[in-house]
């Protein structure tokens, strides 16, 4: 698709990750480059075993805990998203009256889905009506919207990493139309043993992780902007994925960037497409958040974007972001001031 001309800017960011609560913890961990400690999770009583290691978001200090009626029984993914969103707004010093929200997820509220479906299988007549609404993909967006008073456009996108760019473009269109003045583009995921086992079937070396990241966009103002978008380039097979990532890399103006933030996870089989595509890029210029944080599914591209935006803002550099996707589409972008 052709890009609409937009003056939108990334006014501020927020993040909750295994590195801690806040953007600075995320940025410090990624720049440090040392993988965060892993843990062997335990399975729920009566269920089968957990197959892989994980990295979890640490417990927050009280200041980071989102407060409000909607958060009393919400899922971890909602709390992560709310905290990241609030951080972005606080860092920008804004309380927008017309705020839009685009929430990007791959798995969503999998803890509650797991729990509710377990109850259904045991005795459907006693399955909890309180839990079921929390299993719906857009429950986190609803809670965050209620917390922030965002009664305009609020939407949830589900899919591969390309949805972050689709969500970004959606936010730009809303800003350009004037229906909102600011928009949060958020991506979030939570850990669950069912999900972790799913990742483990793909590759035993995957370390499941969790967290959320938020980009606050405004129509104009100061801050980094997305200067180039390539893709989404769709693919149907893993062989086509290699070609799609190569095509994305070829079209992306990464030679003019100071950094490249890739999607590498440190596993040769999974990193093959990017290894080939970015063979010409010096390793010293590359950052690989997944190697440090683990695999956060839908939140992973948002961590990349937040790191890129913060580097662009703090160091006045241009940053290329490579989002090869897991199974459907490859996307790339350049962020700069």
């Amino acid at each position: 698709m052709s890009a609409a001309t937009s003056p939108s800017r990334i006014l501020a960011c927020g993040a909750v990750s295994p590195a801690g609560w806040g953007c600075e913890a995320l940025l410090a961990a990624v720049l440090d480059g040392a993988p965060l400690p892993v843990i062997q999770p335990e399975c729920e009583p009566g269920k089968s075993g957990v197959l892989g290691l994980c990295r979890r978001v640490p417990s927050p200090s009280p200041a980071w805990v989102p407060k409000g009626q909607r958060f009393r029984r919400c899922s971890p993914v909602t709390r992560f998203a709310a905290a990241a969103a609030q951080e972005a707004l606080d860092r920008a010093g804004l309380k927008p009256e017309r705020l839009g929200i685009v929430m990007c997820l791959m798995n969503g509220c999998v803890n509650f889905s797991n729990r509710f479906y377990s109850e259904v299988l045991v005795d459907v007549a006693h399955a909890s009506p309180i839990i079921f609404p929390e299993t719906v993909f857009n429950a986190p967006a609803s809670h965050v919207a209620a917390h922030l008073g965002a009664d305009g456009p609020v939407t949830t996108l589900i899919g591969d990493s390309d949805i972050l760019v689709s969500g970004y473009e959606m936010a730009e269109d809303w800003l350009a139309s004037g229906v909102i003045t600011h928009c949060l583009v958020i991506a979030a995921e939570e850990y669950d043993w069912l999900r972790a086992n799913g990742a483990h079937y793909h590759h035993r070396g995957i370390i499941a992780s969790e967290g959320a990241a938020a980009l606050l966009l405004g129509a104009g103002g100061a801050g980094p902007a997305v200067q180039q978008v390539v893709g989404p380039i769709a693919y149907h097979t893993q062989a086509e994925r290699v070609q799609a990532v190569a095509a994305m890399a070829q079209a992306l103006h990464w030679h003019s960037a100071d950094w490249l933030i890739d999607d590498g996870i440190g596993l040769t089989a999974l990193d093959r497409a990017e290894s080939e595509a970015w063979a010409g890029c010096s390793p010293s210029l590359r950052l690989s958040p997944k190697c440090i944080l683990g695999h956060t599914l839908g939140a992973a591209p948002a961590f990349q974007m937040v790191v890129a935006a913060e580097l662009a803002r703090q160091r006045q550099v241009r940053v290329a972001v490579s989002m090869p996707g897991n199974n459907t589409a490859a996307t790339g972008c350049i962020i700069g001031c």
Partner: protein, 402 residues
């Protein structure tokens, strides 16, 4: 919404629809004309412990397609094929810029199969295939491979407003200049988790018969199905001499912050979306001939929607015909908004109004012209509302080209 005077017109050049009423436009129209329904006992999973035991089930044909396609994706594929045929589009050749699809549950039954095996300790190689096929974006990739298309698919999941939001996003993409031709739609199939969820909420009508806007309505009936619309800018449609069925002229979405599952009794968000969609379409309420309501048949929803329509239309409300086609096919969740937009196109093309079935005593909250029997009518402008869990409200406006 800031007026966009130079935004291109958005035309609907193809429609496909699959529901419990039929597998295509003609079958659905015939059922709507005849007040037919197809609510029957659910046999896809065990409902013996549920209060409700019926739903609007689709008789899915055995068509050649990839074995890994979920039931919902097969419904969508059927609608896609019909829409493409009607639009005269070959996806291998046509310049389709994007697909935007709404779903609430995706391939839930595959996720359920995966979870059941994990719960039972059956961790093995078959699980990888289920993990892969469960992901909604992977299902869309498999579906687009079936029709020979490769391009970006955006999946919107705003519960029961997903389909309407997908149609609306297609409008936005064309009006913003990002795309010239977009395929939009929505789908959902019945799944055990979702059926049990609505049952646990006591949102399903124990009788299995939904009675939207009836004074004694007692809940909704779930259904399943899909609809696809081919949207083109006027220039794109003219360039290939496509025949337009209708024009998509208005869209707005807003969020009801009242509660996760219960609507604001005053329908504030719905008033805002109907008002904003009309502003985009440059219409006033009395120019809307027909509203395909969200009309689920739950006490709270219908009262809130009635209040919203009454407040929005003011003293002209009595002129506006309203019905709920969920009374005939059930609530299609993520598919509902797209299916109901498709029905609006059918009504505009055929100049008729579908009925709200099963009404015994009209609720006093009804101030509009509740259509209780299929009837011919002059339909120039049709509006459809969709409201979802989480508070997403969406309104679409379609207009006749006659």
């Amino acid at each position: 919404m800031v007026p966009q005077p130079n935004a291109p017109r958005v035309l609907v050049t193809g429609v496909g629809i699959v529901s419990s009423l039929g597998l295509n436009w003609a079958a659905n129209e015939q059922s709507l004309r005849q007040h037919a329904t197809n609510f029957r006992p659910v046999d896809l999973f065990d409902v013996s412990g549920c209060v409700a035991k019926t739903a609007g089930l689709v008789d899915l044909p055995q068509e050649p397609c990839a074995a890994t396609l979920s039931r919902g994706t097969r419904l969508l594929l059927g609608a896609l094929r019909e829409a493409l045929a009607q639009a005269g589009l070959n996806l291998k050749q046509a310049g389709v810029d994007a697909m935007v699809i709404g779903t609430s549950a995706g391939a839930m039954e595959i996720g359920e199969a995966y979870a059941r095996r994990e719960f039972q300790g059956l961790q093995g190689r078959g699980q990888l295939a289920l993990v892969d096929a469960y992901q909604p974006q992977r299902q869309m990739s498999l579906m687009t491979e079936e029709v020979g298309w490769r391009g970006p698919v955006t999946l919107i999941s705003n519960a029961c407003a997903s389909g309407a939001n997908a149609v609306g996003r297609g409008l936005e993409l064309i009006r913003s200049g990002r795309a010239q031709r977009v395929i939009v739609g929505g789908y959902d199939s019945l799944s055990e988790l979702v059926f049990a969820g609505f049952d646990s909420l006591r949102a399903l009508a124990p009788s299995g018969v939904p009675r939207p806007f009836d004074a004694a309505r007692d809940g909704l009936a779930l259904g399943e199905g899909a609809a696809v619309l081919v949207l083109e800018s006027e220039a794109a449609a003219v360039s290939r001499q496509a025949t337009a069925l209708a024009e998509l002229t208005g869209y707005a979405t807003a969020t009801d912050l009242h509660h996760l599952t219960q609507p604001d009794p005053a329908g504030g968000a719905a008033i805002r979306t109907m008002t904003a969609a009309c502003a985009m379409a440059r219409l006033v309420p009395e120019q809307i001939d027909y509203i395909n309501s969200h009309g689920t048949g739950t006490p709270y929803n219908d009262a809130a929607e009635s209040a919203a329509i009454t407040a929005w239309a003011g003293n002209k409300v009595g002129q506006i015909a309203v019905s709920s086609t969920k009374s005939a096919m059930g609530h299609l969740l993520g598919g509902a908004g797209a299916v109901e937009a498709a029905i609006c196109v059918m009504a505009l093309c055929g100049q008729w109004l579908p009925a709200s079935l099963h009404v015994r005593e009209v609720d006093p909250c009804v101030t509009f012209d509740l259509v209780q029997a299929f009837r011919p009518a002059v339909v120039r402008s049709a509006l459809t509302n969709s409201f979802g869990f989480g508070g997403t409200n969406a309104t679409l406006i379609l207009q006749s080209l006659r």
